[in-house]
């Protein structure tokens, strides 16, 4: 019934001829692609294809030796992660990176860090601006908790949660930053069918409700083909395919990369 999902806008992120190497290892060579506003853009490829490196380049963890990145009309060569965050880019990680000993609520609150303006002193005595901000931020966090249906674990330490729920908490923390672009590194890895279905629904809901642009890496082809608008395919650090799920599925280069071919 949900027919028209949302209108996909202009290109907001362009990656041109990106090359990244670690010593003698070429992680990415001359990869170019773009991301449009409000779309769900998937990056797929076999293990070691350079997918996570690509995300790391986008949010400034790695600095490519060559190539340019244009985000919302601004060209940059070098950026550090907190600048990316300030520009509205949030991400989740392949290996969950949460504070295990902290409650779900506190973990998600850390996603609001950049929205807090109060000084250390104000925060220490919980006074004035700090108090108002805390209330506002808590409200936003509660909306995210409601959105991702994790009310029942609000006060539970993250370390005690099963893997699937931890993944959801990580997504919650990223959402709490109210990002305009969300980078998801294998959000469904290690999940069972039911958890995957839930996660797909959340990703689609985020995209639809908040209009968030989503770049995701995923191995489950069923998931990728179902939810993404466009797919870019990497293999050995090179781009070998780019287009709609149907185009990518029909591409011989992609089939060869995935099924293997005699070289």
């Amino acid at each position: 019934m949900a027919t028209s999902r949302r209108t996909i806008g202009d290109v907001i992120l362009t990656l041109e001829r990106i090359s990244l190497g670690f010593g003698g290892v070429k992680a990415l060579s001359e990869v170019s692609f773009d991301v449009r506003e409000h779309e769900i853009r998937a990056i797929i490829g076999p293990n070691g294809a350079g997918k996570s490196s690509m995300l790391n380049v986008i949010n400034g963890v790695y600095h490519p030796q060559q190539g340019t990145i244009t985000f919302r009309g601004e060209i940059r060569r070098e950026m550090v992660p907190h600048q990316a965050a300030a520009q509205g880019i949030a991400r989740t990680f392949q290996n969950i990176a949460l504070f295990k000993g902290m409650s779900v609520l506190d973990n998600i609150m850390t996603g609001r860090n950049l929205k807090m303006r109060a000084s250390i002193l104000e925060q220490a005595i919980h006074f004035g601006r700090a108090r108002r901000e805390e209330l506002d931020n808590r409200r936003k966090v509660e909306e995210v908790i409601d959105f991702l249906e994790i009310q029942h674990i609000r006060k539970t330490p993250v370390g005690r949660l099963p893997y699937g729920l931890q993944k959801r908490v990580e997504l919650a923390r990223a959402l709490a930053a109210e990002p305009s672009m969300l980078l998801l590194d294998e959000p469904m890895a290690g999940m069972n069918v039911e958890e995957k279905q839930d996660m797909c629904r959340f990703v689609l809901d985020v995209n639809e409700q908040y209009g968030t642009t989503i770049v995701l890496i995923e191995h489950d082809m069923g998931v990728v083909m179902d939810i993404s608008d466009r797919v870019v395919v990497l293999d050995y650090g090179r781009k070998i395919g780019d287009g709609t799920p149907d185009e990518v599925r029909a591409s011989q280069a992609v089939i060869d990369a995935y099924l293997g071919v005699a070289h």
Binding site: M1, A2, T3, S4, R5, R138, R139, E142, E143, I145, D146, F147, E149, Q151, H152, R154, K155, V193, E194, Q197, R201, D205, E208, Q209
Partner: protein
Amino acid sequence: MDARFDTFPRLLLHHAEVRGGHPACREKDLGIWQTWTWREVADEVRALACGLAAQGFRRGMHLAIIGDNRPRLYWSMLAAQSLGGIAVPMYQDAPAADFVFVLNDAEIAYAIVEDQEQVDKMLEAMPQVPTLKHICYDDPRGLRNYEGMLPLDRLQALGREFDRENPGFYDGEIAKGRPDDVSVMLYTSGTTGKPKGVCQTHAAFIASARGGAQFDHLTPDDSILSYLPMAWVGDHLFSLAQWVYVGFTINCPESGDTVMTDLREIGPTYYFAPPRVFENLLTQVTIRMEDASAIKRWIYKWATAVARRCGAEILDGKPVGLGDRLRYFLGNLLVYGPLRNVLGMSRIRVAYTAGAAIGPDLFRFYRSIHVNLKQLYGQTETCAYVCLQPDGDVKLDSVGLPAPGVELRIAAGGEVLVRGPMLLKEYYKRPDATAESIDSDGYFHTGDAGFLDSSGHLKIIDRAKDVGKLANGAMYAPNYIENKLKFFAHIKEAVAFGHERDEVCAFINIDMGSVGNWAERRNLAYSGYTDLAQKTEVYQLIKECVENVNAELAQEGELGHSQVHRFLVLHKELDPDDDELTRTRKVRRSFVAEKYAVLIDALYGGKAVQHIETLVRFEDGRTGMVAADLRIESAKTRPVAAVKKAA
């Protein structure tokens, strides 16, 4: 209460007038308890009713209500009733295919549902339900691009507009209502055949609400947690009828998963739960105590022993020695008080359980820690109102005395018959069924077999139609045996067979939580339910339970012949999605017998192992096969003790 307030909408207006600022309804939203006063609720209901009217909803129509316990769904029921319509709440966890029958049977044209999940089910059912035209939803999440349906906010906005344009309409509609109008139609879960719509009037539910309220001295200051399915008669009695009759506060939990936390935060004074909830709570407490430090375990053990000895007697106001009173006082300080607090039961004045038999040990445990837990007995057809246990006179194995206004007698065959203002008006469009269940004297045939003990308390044995005879002529009551088995925490469900057979055999469902924990503590590795169920150690564990039951049965005269000779542990949990249980989790005996005929043959054929493959339906509607080789075990039986003759 004034006799003028003889329908639920009039009662609502009455509360809005006399206690307009008093909290009527709470719901936890975004982590905070939101409150609506009676005046606000009356206003919201008015807007909903006028909105429905603007959409063409008319007197006598049925309004389907589907979803978790949300304030606006309760208000929607009252809104339908304000217009002379009839609320038809349905079980929210049923798949779309199950809705089709009820939607067609009740000729539903209007449905108010909770969220996207339910909307999707309605859309799935729609092609087969030609009458269904109007769908409104409470929670708009994920529904932005759905066309042809209204969010409740919009419905209410339309209603307010309609109200302005048609002043006097709403009050006029309420004035037209009569107490003998049908107020709600609740579908019986149907252990046999198709569900039947039970038509209950305002008068019937008000009489039941009044009777219960007087019996337990309920006041507007009471507070309850509304968390049981809205389609279930018990919830309708407690969370709607008594709510609007007495004017207390209902609290809707944040979600199904947070009920226990919400219970603790609200601390209700009046509480209702089926036995399995009480059992789960106790299991959790026991498991956590096992992990506690030695000194804590010792204190807990000491205190529960004291409570077991004298706790229930103190609650009942019976004479207890000074020494035990002092020990109990200390126990209360150290254990019972904190425990009640953790369970969210600190403020409970009256707690009820019903729907299934509660184990005597479990029942006594709660009473012994000063939770006034009582049993009640009733059906959908009697507004869940037939017998109640009075304070201070609670017998573990009875369901209490006939409630105020209820006439009760036992038919020659042992069937319990009841008459009173709480009886159903009729089964919807089923005059045959109505005539069959209400006799010419106006007594409703409950279908339960029972007897009144010397002090007039009702004891229920079994469903009358299930009571059979063994081949040797001895009485055989399967539920009675199954309940005894289910009182063990390790056994979740049991199905006994024996009618016209030489001996009794049984299927057992283990309780995954309890047995799983037991296995972990013994370093017993298992991969899942099916694997765990077939472990030799688990069979030994279950065998002990069965043999305990046999020992008890041997002491009970004629029932001693019903000792379980052979049993097997099923490879999958019996599930309503596979039609093996009803939505209220009662075993559909004949269906199970048919589906697993090969297992019954194996039990009686003396086989040691039987292979079985079963189709199962997952929560998302897909199906799969579960296959297993089930072992069949014999249990020791004891000689039947001679029946003690009354002197």
